[in-house]
């Protein structure tokens, strides 16, 4: 796919949830977790979706992979209408889009060895490969993300948060996806560990020609990796554009407030 082509295009995405409790009885009041969002993600670039808790960014991220079904809207991924694919077509499309999760402790099966975890996508999508081939590819990917090959024989609990995040990244890369949706990948990590993971993600993007959708509540983190930024609040897209424009010349007051709230690294 040539550069500057839009790999992922979303229009009018909407996701409603019913309010719980008493309000449900009164005509089923609803709220829009994601309210008419449009996105364009150019191939090879990183779109960051930034917002505070409850803004809908995680719901939006999951809709892009069709892990949550949108109530309205369309998603065109690599030229295909994602919401109108058959089950087997969707299964094929899913190979090209993968997710990295926030919690390095919850996203790895604690009862599987790391090598099996990383090789699992191959076991599911490329069953024709032999066990040895899978193990070899998994070991190779583990070294690529900065872990030693011997890590394949150990269990997740033997690793630190940053190392587990690397394992999750290795797993996501096994099928050579085009798109990776990263949901707060460094939020649960210490500062210096998060910095290593950000560098790794940038390095892998160049090496594998990846496109990222990067979800975060942190503008400073996003500033290190995003080419485009979209700001969300209460389900709506407040503002979006080139990263530099959003960071230096924000148009909306909410964006300005978010930028102003970022602590400076100088003593008060």
């Amino acid at each position: 796919m040539p550069e500057h082509e839009i790999l992922l295009k979303a229009r009018g995405l909407k996701k409603n949830y019913a309010r719980g409790g008493r309000e449900r009885a009164v005509g089923g009041a609803r709220f829009a977790a994601v309210d008419l969002v449009d996105l364009d993600v150019p191939a090879g670039e990183t779109l960051a979706i930034v917002g505070e808790s409850g803004c809908g960014k995680t719901t939006l991220a999951r809709m892009l992979l069709r892990l949550i079904e949108p109530d309205a809207g369309e998603i065109i991924f690599a030229g295909r209408d994602l919401l109108n694919l058959s089950a087997s077509e969707l299964r094929t499309a899913r190979r090209e889009m993968q997710m990295i999760f926030q919690d390095p402790f919850a996203s790895l099966n604690p009862r599987m060895r790391v090598g099996e975890i990383v090789a699992e996508p191959l076991a599911i999508h490329e069953p024709e490969r032999t066990r040895d081939e899978r193990d070899e590819k998994a070991a190779s990917m583990l070294t690529r993300v900065g872990l030693e090959a011997g890590a394949a024989y150990r269990y997740p609990h033997e690793f630190s948060g940053g190392q587990r995040q690397r394992i999750g990244i290795a797993r996501a890369l096994m099928l050579r996806p085009k798109l990776i949706v990263a949901d707060e990948p460094v939020s649960a990590l210490d500062v210096s560990v998060g910095a290593q993971v950000l560098w790794l993600l940038r390095d892998l993007q160049r090496a594998f020609g990846l496109t990222y959708v990067f979800i975060s509540h942190s503008l400073p983190v996003v500033a290190q990796i995003a080419t485009r930024i979209a700001v969300m609040r209460a389900g709506k897209l407040i503002e979006s554009g080139q990263a530099e424009q959003i960071l230096r010349r924000p148009a909306q007051q909410y964006t300005k407030d978010l930028l102003a709230a970022v602590p400076e690294l100088t003593a008060h």
Partner: protein, 323 residues
């Protein structure tokens, strides 16, 4: 420092824990001081010993832990914080020294109204206080924590409050017993950045108004810059740098502090440089300086012995041979 009244004085405090492979020292000869109305920021990542240090100050170390060194709290008189019995700890913990945590949702009782939890804290330490006095204290604590509509909030359960309000409820609970020292362990890490700013401003205000000593523990330099008068940086259980916050942030002398600053994301793109390698395991510390394997400035004498804290300037020390 001489003119500032001392509140907390920690001298060569060491915590030893037994493991299958021998004793480890998550806190290793740590000396720190906090003055009345002063905030000391304790900066450290996972494995630095910051949490173990705060547990030592509250008598909450795991069974089998050994404590060496001294820590004293200035209350009406000097009060030793080592070698206390459980009964003695109970009069310190929550009373002289209070703590607030990162996740208010897990530290607040989910099945008790917020107001009742604050009352519980008051009554536990002052059982003779009459009901209306307790009520007054409770509301005063909520107002001090800048909780809007304190009477209404007191009747709510934690799950009905936002993250920021829950943290204010925790602060109110911590203040209700009028402690001298507040330990805050990553209190804003789980909060949105706009709420974080409010909570940090609240803590600063409380410090000024109540003359409260604050030990603010975090791995985030940006956050601690907002509240700390002085900073101490922990690495592998030892203090590696200590000094006025403006100096430690503006002109850090220890390569780890410099590395942390460079690794902290800022709004400026391309400003991030990670520290190579990872934090050492306490059971397998290098023979000399614990940071040496990761240090770009290392010399041959770095691995021979653990450096002393050397004077970088008045009141600013760093544990590095380059100082």
């Amino acid at each position: 420092m001489e003119s500032m009244r001392k509140l907390l004085d920690i001298q060569a405090l060491t915590v030893e824990l037994p493991t299958a492979r021998g004793w480890v020292r998550p806190v290793n000869e740590v000396s720190l001081r906090i003055g009345v109305g002063q905030c000391l920021g304790l900066v450290g990542e996972s494995g630095s010993g910051k949490t173990m240090l705060s547990l030592a100050l509250l008598g909450l170390l795991p069974a089998g832990a050994r404590v060496k060194g001294q820590a004293s709290l200035a209350t009406v008189s000097e009060r030793e914080l080592t070698g206390l019995s459980e009964a003695e700890w109970r009069s310190v913990r929550g009373r002289e020294i209070a703590m607030i945590f990162q996740e208010p949702m897990t530290s607040l009782n989910p099945v008790m109204r917020v107001g009742n939890q604050i009352e519980e804290a008051i009554r536990a330490h002052e059982p003779d206080l009459k009901n209306d006095a307790v009520e007054e204290r409770k509301l005063a604590a909520l107002r001090q924590a800048a909780m809007s509509e304190p009477e209404r909030r007191a009747e709510q359960y934690p799950h009905q409050l936002s993250g920021g309000l829950r943290q204010r409820a925790m602060i109110a609970m911590a203040l209700a017993t009028k402690p001298k020292l507040l330990i805050a362990d990553e209190p804003t890490t789980a909060l949105d950045v706009t709420v974080q700013k409010e909570i940090l401003q609240l803590l600063q205000k409380l410090q000024r108004e109540l003359g409260l000593g604050l030990l603010f523990i975090t791995h985030d330099l940006g956050v601690v810059a907002q509240v700390a008068d002085r900073l101490a940086v922990l690495y592998a259980g030892r203090v590696v740098e200590e000094g006025p916050a403006s100096e430690v942030l503006g002109a850090p002398r220890h390569p780890y502090t410099q590395g942390l600053l460079a690794a902290t994301p800022r709004l400026e793109p391309g400003s991030l440089t990670p520290i190579p390698g990872s934090v050492p395991q306490l059971m397998a510390l290098p023979p000399g300086c614990a940071f040496e394997p990761r240090c770009s400035l290392r010399r041959s004498d770095c691995s021979t012995a653990v450096p002393d804290l050397r004077v970088a300037s008045t009141e600013h020390t760093a544990r590095c041979v380059l100082v």
